[in-house]
Chain length 463, copies 4
């Protein structure tokens, strides 16, 4: 998330981060940098509204004395580097070229090797993030004609990056375009870069275009400039953004997420029809697909599972009895709707299946005659090395199980997943065909070669 | 909320309060009382999970040394008495008969007069709640044969009360039955009283029956006993519980709220059909009614307005720009769904209309061709003296305005409310006919005479 | 602590409470009351600067709109009533006569009996303090010609009380004058009542006179008025105020505490001389007496025990190893001063002796040849029912032990206490002779009859 | 502060830091490192007991699984680098050689130049401390035969450093020995390095010797080893450690601080006698010298100024009226002692003189006939570049003023400072003669050449 040339850039960034909270809830941070080179940063563990208050934002914006300024911000969702204060972003460093702050979305798969090289060259790291690798490379590249382009060309994996310097903001995206990164403009002047279009909507900016895979966009006093740091390749956009990660209100990779999700629901209804009395969504994740399923199937759409809006945002450990208590708090079933009925339950995805099982038991206990679970994506079988933090293979419910076995485990009458072909057809458009998406978590087909097993703590503490 | 005869009663009460959080977010509290008469209470401003942690709950339950015990709890939604620590509930007092704690849901309309009498009799109040009036009456009634029945017979207005003594729990409900109060039982023994059946579901208790209007239920070592403190009258259940207040997953006054809300949506579709392309709910409040509306109208049900799940639970003041910024954060519109479409937007109710107006403007800006707002209850015209905290008449959007004027104000093509007759027919059942409901906020027909204007601070600070 | 007729009375009270922090560290509170009868209070567990910040004080003072106003405040040192939020003071109640706040210093020995009478009369208590007993009596006295005088005449024991009403402040002191209470005046107008003269110094007020034992002082718009509520008796001022409790900078009962403490040190030197090389104080409590001891004995005064100024104000539990670790942190010995020397260590009093023993061991370890402990008061043998919270008899080091046994226990060569006669002679002045002091903790001679054993929790939770 | 080979090293370090709190109150931190190379650190703004609790310390010690382990700790007193979370110490970095943590006491005068060289070499800094300069040098020195010795030889200025590696602890001190650093041993095995001997006393360790100027001490499994990194020079121990900085209970540079301070008081009495009635210390700073002054002068030693023990540890801003209010809270004068008397007030030093002036006014107001201020060190005229954070020259009271002018400014009858010769004679011993001390703040004679003006923020934020 980056802002250039707008008044109160820290306040703007705060609003944008708030609208992007779904992309990361571990920590949040904002950095600003005055023309005199004074960098200020505030970052902490927790949700955006808990990390920032008006006083903190005012202090950051004070760097610009009411004039238009720039800022970058970050919501952290831990993939590489453990969860700690020193891993919060934006990451700030001081180099011969001045102070620089950067925020990173994605996962750099050759970070460990790069780090070892840099350490071997007599360098010191002060965090365990792959983000610091980018910064140290950038500093070392000070003799290159285009230090940033050179730096980015060394990186492998998924990265959408925003850099803040005293005199410019730079945005870059990896050649495969794994993670989204869009460019917006304020009606009254000023630019913004953000992961999703909802952030533009939240701050009143207009969508301009995506930052292209392999592109660096530089915004400074002379306006916007673009250059490439790498040769074009066939894109590999993360299809899980459409399935689960992005906001339904965003346009991502050229398609509106909510429409994609409705179509995914329609498609699973076409692929896996079932004779039933009603369709109900798993709240809130299955709602978009469930309306699509209802439309195609002609079954009535009814909300039989009621979420407790106050649970889930606040951490509550199951203190008495088992985990089922927490699920009972989180969801209630309307018995009168499900009693004696054949029900289709729609959800967007299923990872471990632990809580799904408990929810299905609640439906059964409330009198459901038949339960047919429909998942609007294929089964998850493989790790993601590009920014989604799935659990280990052995914890994934689909590992080494047939759908019949999964249905038995979940206590439902049938389970059906969307086919990979169906997924491709739904997300594909003339501009962004289905094979421009990365579906490695479903198919195991990785767009690039992965060296060895990459783990969350690949870079962590050693001495 | 009351528990009797169950292990870890404070933990149980915590879970129940959590499931009832929608009934009050101002403060929360739990009281326990050992057989030796030792009363312990923990209460504070804030949401249930912020007020209690495992340590606090363990300390409360420690009173019972792992044996079954009793507890009462409360979520405060401020009607009488200002918002302060000393007004948190349960309210605890020490009398000649021992310690007593009580929790109150409702509003006692003759509290001010009763308080003046008690003060005139040389008594001291230490809070500004009507709850303390109940306690002081109870203490003064120590020479009455049935002190509690006598006390309750002095009260006018809406009250669902739970009392905790060292040797018993007592539950009572006003003769009109304004507020709900249900009785449940644990499979392994032990009783529970709660405002709604979702609380029973949350803690694994089974629904037994409602506490009747005008009834006192006593639970002690000899089991459950019942007596009346007043003559039966025609009930006046709060219809707004069905419209807005209660959880959709609860049974209230004999009907399941979610079904009632779906039927309210169907009814408004029957009463006010409109030629349109799709139906969309105002999230999350209009969803139940919108599915009903879609079913009757035959229009497709699509979710065009996307709520930010992280906003609204945490307090955020609009710091930059106007209030619209906060609304933009809270909701996003999926432009591809609304563009060029004639849209029916369904919501459960409309009070001031301030945020509705901003949301309608967002829809319009996203390209909606026509917007038809359908409200699944009648217009709110009158104050509630029985526990719902509406703003002043002059702030209500329906005050002195026709629906055309309201539509103009909100910037929509049409607004239609449900008729009062329609409301009665929907909520009415053979057991609880429509005229057993209080609809004074819509009709102005108050079941009892109200002396003067009662305001929120009627009992507040004077010296 | 009370202020009348001064601008920003809450800020003033805050400063006064800060200067009186030594009198109670458990909780602090301030109440203000507008002429319109609006009472506001802020109180919480903890030290004065932690309980209040500028914002809180401003909010309290806002009641007066920059005009001169009134306030009362309190530092709580727990004697009756357990340590809890609901026992913080000032205590606020609402009566037929309006709101009233009161703050109490002392201990009412017949509170339990009075409370039972009031409860038997159908009254409810909401705390476990003897302070609420005073308030309830006052409310019940509403038919008496002088309700306050009647109320005070019912109380037995030690009480210095300040009352805040919307139109006046009243100050009262028990007939024996156990606890101090002084009256001051601001140069620019306005009155102040406080426990000690240091509070007057802290806020720039001038000492006027003491509130007399058995006197009520009323301050209102017509100025200051005085009346008695009880017959004069021989005073029984608490001698422990001079020995330990009051600030050395205060005048208490007509004498300056620091001078009294120096004279107590001189007297113990006269009563118990010893051949030694130097005198050193136990910091910081023994310093005043040690300078007196040095003066009379002619021995050099040197500081051999160095306190850690950062320990002791913050709570630290001994986490590793034994309690000795905490003492080592708290005090360090200058070995070069004590090595091979015969040392007189002077302290003001000794209660349990636990930490003294550890300190003496440190001195011995550092090479002290002889240690002679001199205590500038007599041994404590009896409980105090009038506001000082000594531990149980069995925990007092002097219980059933000779001074030789105490010396052996403490590991010193000799221990000597001041004689009771010496104490009387030192504190006695022509105006306030020695026998106008209560020395019951030393002598067991209680000025009034005590019914049964009074314990800290005499009024606590029962039900 | 460093511990090697002792169980619960984090707990030990906590106790040591607590005893050294007087050396820095801005932030505190502890680092531990397991043999497997896992470095853990906890550091935060605030006082030691607020930064750490038992849980945090247990978590750090858990690295060692109850076996003996190592830890380093730091109390930060800001000289270089602004006051922020990212400047807390110990500073942790990851290099090719593994993780390393270091804690620094002192000030490196060529840090800016070194940093520019390192940045120019393509390196990134993530803080604004001179401590990071040491770490980056150490990493770059990875091809040197003795990387640490080489690194230290590059540094100019004052530094006492402790390093923690997974397999050893190293301690080093600059060739001039500006700051103290002592070595201790636990009776049961294990080593400790600390700034002052009070830390050894606090944790039950025995003093072994000082780390020599220019020495590196390495402690690992094979025991203790020593080497030099630089040629011996004439030491320049900071004389202000004796005057003000160190604990009176410590031995520093071979002398016990308390004895030195008593002798400084004796010496100023010899150099500047005055006809007076009594001597009183400025609490608590002047107490040691005042007893010495009293001894030599024969005047009675009395404590006329009473500190409020609860003020000063907690931050309180003057909210009403002027700064005088805060001083009145902090100190009270015993009028009966000073009234009509000729008083000698002794303090250890005087920097700005702002609060001294207010205190003198209080003494005068209380009736002092004559006030003679005696300062047991020479006037401060020059900045310190070696770790003491004096204000700018223009804020120093002694700048461009005679003692008569200072007396007039402070409102006293006379002011006298100790002579530089007197200071040298008092601190000098046969082992450490007076000219082995740095007295640059008094004399302007800097032991090394200082390039340009060094300011607190010399290294701070630029971009």
């Amino acid at each position: 998330m980056a802002v250039w040339g707008a008044p109160q850039p820290a306040h703007i960034t705060f609003h944008a981060l708030y609208s992007l909270q779904h992309r990361g809830q571990e920590s949040a941070g904002i950095a600003v940098c005055g023309r005199d080179g004074k960098m200020e940063r505030h970052a902490a563990m927790g949700l955006v509204p808990n990390v920032f208050d008006a006083e903190t934002l005012d202090a950051l914006d004070a760097v610009y004395d009411s004039a238009p300024g720039s800022a970058i911000g970050h919501n952290r969702y831990s993939t590489t580097g453990s969860s700690e204060q020193e891993n919060t972003q934006p990451f700030v460093g001081y180099t011969a070229g001045g102070a620089v702050a950067l925020a990173h979305n994605g996962n750099i798969v050759n970070a460990k090797r790069l780090r070892h090289e840099l350490e071997g060259d007599g360098r010191v790291f002060t965090s365990t993030t792959d983000t610091e690798v980018v910064l140290q490379l950038l500093a070392r590249a000070n003799t290159e004609p285009d230090a940033l382009a050179w730096t980015l060309s060394q990186l492998e994996g998924a990265f959408s990056l925003v850099f803040l310097f005293s005199d410019r903001v730079e945005l870059a995206r990896d050649p495969y375009g794994w993670r989204p990164l869009v460019l917006g403009r304020f009606p009254d002047g000023g630019w913004v870069g953000a992961s999703e279009t909802v952030a533009l909507d939240a701050i009143g900016a207009e969508f301009v275009r995506e930052v292209e895979p392999g592109e660096i966009v530089t915004i400074d006093d002379s306006g916007l400039a673009s250059r490439r740091f790498d040769e074009p390749v066939t894109p590999a956009h993360c299809v899980f953004e459409h399935v689960y990660f992005a906001s339904p209100a965003s346009r991502v990779f050229g398609s509106t997420v909510q429409l994609v999700r409705e179509r995914l629901g329609e498609r699973i209804a076409e692929e896996n029809p079932v004779d039933a009395d009603l369709v109900t969504p798993m709240p809130d994740s299955g709602r978009s697909a469930a309306t699509g399923y209802a439309r195609v199937s002609g079954l009535p759409y009814r909300e039989a599972i009621i979420p407790n809006r106050y649970v889930g945002r606040t951490f509550i450990k199951p203190t008495t009895g088992e985990r089922a208590a927490a699920v009972r708090l989180k969801l209630n079933v309307v018995a009168e709707i499900v009693e004696g009925q054949r029900i289709v339950v729609v959800d967007d995805s299923i990872v471990r299946g632990t809580t799904t099982r408990l929810k299905m038991a609640q439906l059964r206990k409330a009198g459901a005659k038949e339960i047919h679970l429909r998942i609007s994506c294929p089964p998850i079988h493989h790790p993601c090395y590009f920014g989604v933090d799935f659990p280990d293979r052995k914890e994934l419910i689909a590992t080494d199980r047939t759908t019949q076995e999964i249905a038995a485990l979940l206590g439902v009458d049938s389970v059906a997943y969307l086919s990979i072909e169906g997924l491709h057809e739904v997300v594909g458009t003339p501009e962004v065909p289905g094979d421009h998406y990365c579906d490695a978590c479903f198919s195991g087909r990785y767009p690039i070669t992965i060296e060895g097993e990459l783990r969350k703590d690949a870079l962590t503490k050693h001495c």
